[in-house]
Subunit: 124 residues, 2 copies
């Protein structure tokens, strides 16, 4: 049977921080942000909870930048822009046209990502 889920302060804090963060943080970044409030937080716990959120559909990995996975707590459909110079990941208010989703694809599609690459305004 399904494993029972309990409410822990740290898990709630990780979830909240992820939802609050607009910059698609890595596990390490989330960890660093929560450390002041939870000095005994462990990086492993952040990873374990992110894996959990992903399973439950509460979070999504939007990209791997410089070898680090970047997460998003917003799960509504939208695109992303990734700066190849500084690694910044930004939201782009844009969804993939429905007609593209109705195409003949080699399987059962459950989702799709649209990602732009380039150099961000900040770096230019």
């Amino acid at each position: 049977m399904e494993a029972q889920r309990r409410v822990s302060r740290k898990r709630e804090a990780i979830r909240a921080e992820l939802l609050r963060s607009m910059d698609h943080p890595s596990a390490e970044t989330l960890y660093a942000r929560l450390l002041p409030e939870f000095p005994d937080l462990s990086l492993g716990t952040v990873y374990r909870n992110l894996a959990l959120f992903r399973q439950e559909g509460e979070a999504v990995c939007v990209a791997t930048v410089a070898g680090q996975e970047r997460f998003d707590g917003r799960t509504d459909p939208h695109a992303h822009f990734i700066c190849q110079r500084c690694g910044r990941v930004e939201d782009v208010a844009l969804t993939v046209p429905d007609k593209l989703l109705r195409l003949e694809l080699p399987g059962r599609v459950s989702g799709c990502t649209l990602t732009f690459y380039g150099v961000c305004d900040h770096c230019l």
Copy 2:
């Protein structure tokens, strides 16, 4: 000044294998495929040359599946389908509509990827 580039049999073999492969192989997969012909090939060499190709724009990393980077020697614009069950990466003959590329994006865009996720026909 720029480092001089020379022609080596192994680099050419890696390039050719990447172009011939339609399944977006990982470094390890390429290595395994070339090993019969080059029994003394080293995985490090595959990685080094892939990094090189990427720099020169001759190859692209289209996704990270199960922790492994997957490469594509085809650099013309097209989309991909990734099976979340078996990890297969397939080409999808579909380009992102030009009008999406003319949108107001937060920087200078140099490329974009469109990736579908789901379960492939083979797994269904």
